[in-house]
Symmetry: C2
Subunit: 484 residues, 2 copies
């Protein structure tokens, strides 16, 4: 390894040494983001934004396929609207940005920069919905939101972030509940299949539910440091909002009723999840389905064969591009192949194609996988079939690897001493019985910093022996973890 190459790699802190610093090193070094002059707000750089665009595409397709349409609601919400739903305002008021002046004039009513859009959307739904014929209303919005956070971390918690928020209105409670679960399933499908991140679906506790919801479901993922990350939430709002916002419809039976509502959201946080689930000490590892660049071609060309090699490399790049692969060629002269290898590994490109004069003679190229580091020689003629196969194999392997890690790091105990030991030493998910009382939930959080991530669906048929904290009757099996 030449000196410059070593330096490139040296710039990332190893995960084992300081996980937080590793994360910050990777997001900066892979050029996903940069800090901005505005406290807590980040710049999403082109490479990070291209990743987000691919993620958006995969999720937007699913949102549309399930019958939703996109729309756009105002950035600002009048203070009086935010105030209407009591729990909602209590949850969000402490962390909103206030607009007080427009131009040189003081506003007669302060505006909040939306932290979420339930209230302003309810105000519109009140006007749009009159009859059962107007239902369901199935709308989604892609936008920026602002929550004035004291402690921030790129992608995971920023004062401004990008997200989508779905808001629907229904005729019956059952329909709203079906919708809430349907969208949770959309998130699960998207995160598991496109981002290669296994998740646990389940219900949030009363304490952890969305401010103003009847109940909240979530998908929870496990990061490689053993901490959990909430990767998407779907809320059944019941008639909480429709009652205070007076959203009623004339039903076919002639009665005036309140609509049943849902909302659901996922955000640029998911970029953080990708980094922490798949990344390693050489940098990012991106799932092929959302990678901005799926393949990087690095010609390895000593001077006298340079022209021939570059020409062939350009040809095969073009050929693979036509086959629908997101591919680029790195023909920069000022960097060595080794330096380029390190850079594209840092950026998590799933496959690297190396092409040198000897490969050319042998009519082949070398394919290197980012996920396993394995290399294989492939005939040039077979590239358009082999590369898509390899990308699919990488996608599947990344999911399996993450799943195996999660299984290894999912523990089960009803003994509180063991529980504390696991949370402190091993981290990961801990499945334990819980009596359903907030007092126990709170005590556990205070004593161990672990929270109930959710009550996993797949465990709710099982009987919990006892509450891990109070030893009272176990009402639920809960998934505990320290979380981002």
């Amino acid at each position: 390894m030449a000196k410059q190459e070593k330096e490139f790699v040296k710039e990332i802190t190893p995960r084992s040494e300081d996980y937080s610093q590793w994360y910050l090193d990777v997001v900066l070094k892979a050029e996903l983001m940069d800090y901005s002059p505005v406290k807590g707000c980040m710049v999403i750089r082109p490479y990070g934004y291209a990743l987000w665009e691919n993620m958006q595409q995969g999720l937007d397709r699913r949102i549309k396929e399930t019958g939703h349409r996109n729309a756009y609601f105002p950035l600002f919400i009048p203070e009086s609207l935010l105030q209407k739903e009591a729990e909602h305002v209590e949850g969000f008021a402490p962390e909103v940005a206030w607009v007080t002046h427009g131009g040189n004039e003081k506003l007669t009513e302060r505006l909040v920069v939306r932290p979420t859009s339930e209230t302003i959307i309810c105000e519109m739904y009140r006007r749009w919905i009159q009859s059962y014929r107007d239902l369901p209303v199935l709308i989604n919005q892609w936008c920026n939101v602002v929550r004035w956070e004291k402690v921030t971390r790129p992608f995971l918690r920023t004062s401004e972030f990008l997200w989508q928020e779905g808001h629907t209105a229904h005729r019956t409670q059952e329909e709203a509940e079906t919708e809430t679960l349907k969208m949770l399933e959309v998130y699960r499908d998207f995160v598991e299949n496109d981002l290669a991140i296994p998740v646990i679906t389940g219900k949030k506790t009363e304490k952890e539910k969305f401010a103003g919801a009847m109940h909240t479901y979530s998908i929870e993922a496990l990061m490689s440091d053993g901490k959990a990350l909430q990767a998407g939430t779907s809320h059944n709002l019941g008639t909480h909002f429709s009652t205070v916002f007076d959203i009623t419809f004339l039903d076919s039976d002639g009665e005036l009723k309140h609509v049943w509502q849902t909302s659901w959201g996922s955000s640029t946080r998911l970029v953080g999840a990708i980094i922490m689930v798949h990344g390693d000490d050489r940098g990012l590892v991106l799932p092929p389905k959302v990678a901005p660049m799926q393949v990087i071609v690095v010609p390895i060309a000593p001077k006298k064969t340079r022209e021939t090699v570059l020409q062939k490399a350009a040809e095969l790049t073009e050929e693979l591009k036509k086959a629908g692969i997101r591919i680029e060629m790195d023909d920069r002269e000022e960097y060595s192949p080794g330096w380029k290898f390190n850079e594209w590994e840092m950026k998590g490109v799933p496959v690297r194609i190396e092409l040198g004069p000897r490969d050319l003679e042998a009519g082949q190229a070398v394919l290197a996988r980012r996920d396993t580091g394995e290399k294989e020689a492939v005939e040039l003629d077979s590239l358009t079939t082999r590369v898509p196969e390899l990308l699919a194999a990488i996608q599947a392997n990344m999911y399996q690897k993450a799943l195996a890690f999660r299984e290894e790091n999912t523990h089960r105990t009803d003994d509180y001493e063991e529980f504390k030991k696991i949370i402190d030493e091993k981290r990961g998910f801990v499945i334990s019985g819980w009596c359903g009382q907030e007092a126990c939930e709170l005590a556990i959080k205070e004593e161990t910093k672990a929270t109930i991530r959710n009550l996993p669906f797949h465990l709710q048929d099982e009987k919990a022996a006892k509450c891990v904290y109070c030893s009272g009757e176990g009402k639920h099996l809960a998934c505990f973890a320290r979380a981002y």
Copy 2:
């Protein structure tokens, strides 16, 4: 016409009666937008947003094809950053929204909600650019911006709007100028080919240029009431911003130099242009390339043949969908065919397919064009070839019609009395000589409300006889009009 159908149409004010009211009627009735509880901010409803998504797609493709990449910069800009470029702050400070509090705390420095992002992007470019090897930087951003407008009109002038803003940095003045003109050409190509709106490309006067630019180019379109609309602008920023923001690079000659910058933008305003260029007294007329729905299928089915007709209609809808057409079937039972015709005409759907029992017997369907109202019977087997042809013909015809209208309403005079008469009575574009002095430009504006839209490129080789106002030497041929 049944009573309900008449009422549907009656709800739009004819253009000849009150053009402004017609516009407002159309945007509401076609469900493109709705007013929100926040003064000057609108809600873009699903139908309007689907139109915007299609527009974004066409423009985003072109922006990427010319080598630009998308990124995302913060919504907020610290006051001190906005203040740096003197002309820029003078231009924007009076119309920005100020954030003064975060949560319960007063901010130590006020933040503006971005009215445009030159300043915060410059601050980042200062950090990112060191060497000539880092250039050019070619970045675009899709986002919301806020300008606190006193008088607003849906899509045309709203306090919050959606747009894209490109920001580039270059090594030389020539490169920046080439980029500025290249992006103007991208706008022209997009607006003329996708939106079917002919535009005049040219340079803005000093008075009308962007606050902080060296010079600005624009594309100008003519609305059907004879008023102009600026449909996109491209600015050569020179080194104005790089000097005050200290964006320098080490050139290959070893010298430290300031970068040359450009910025360029287009917005949801273009939706307003589509409405006003193509719309008529029955509502919207949408260009097929961006129409959310290109074809609407209306089965006309008396009770006893209902099932057969609906089934066939569903089949052909599916077949055309597979052929890549954006198509839907309107099988609502509670509305009559006539009512549906009116509704989809109001929404500007380019082609309506009518299918009744007699059509079925004859093995045909009736295609009705929204742009000309013409109908034709087409064999069911030929639909997948005929519909795309028809959509292409409609797209072409809409452009030609708009072009013919603009030609008819472009006048030429160097006589000020005639100039005033045209502006007052006929409206449209007036091509006249101009001495190049701001005094004449201002006087004309005050006396006639007409401004110089731009100095059209295609007329700059021609010699202007004299200034239409002062009769001094004609330095330029300028395009004057009253404008939105």
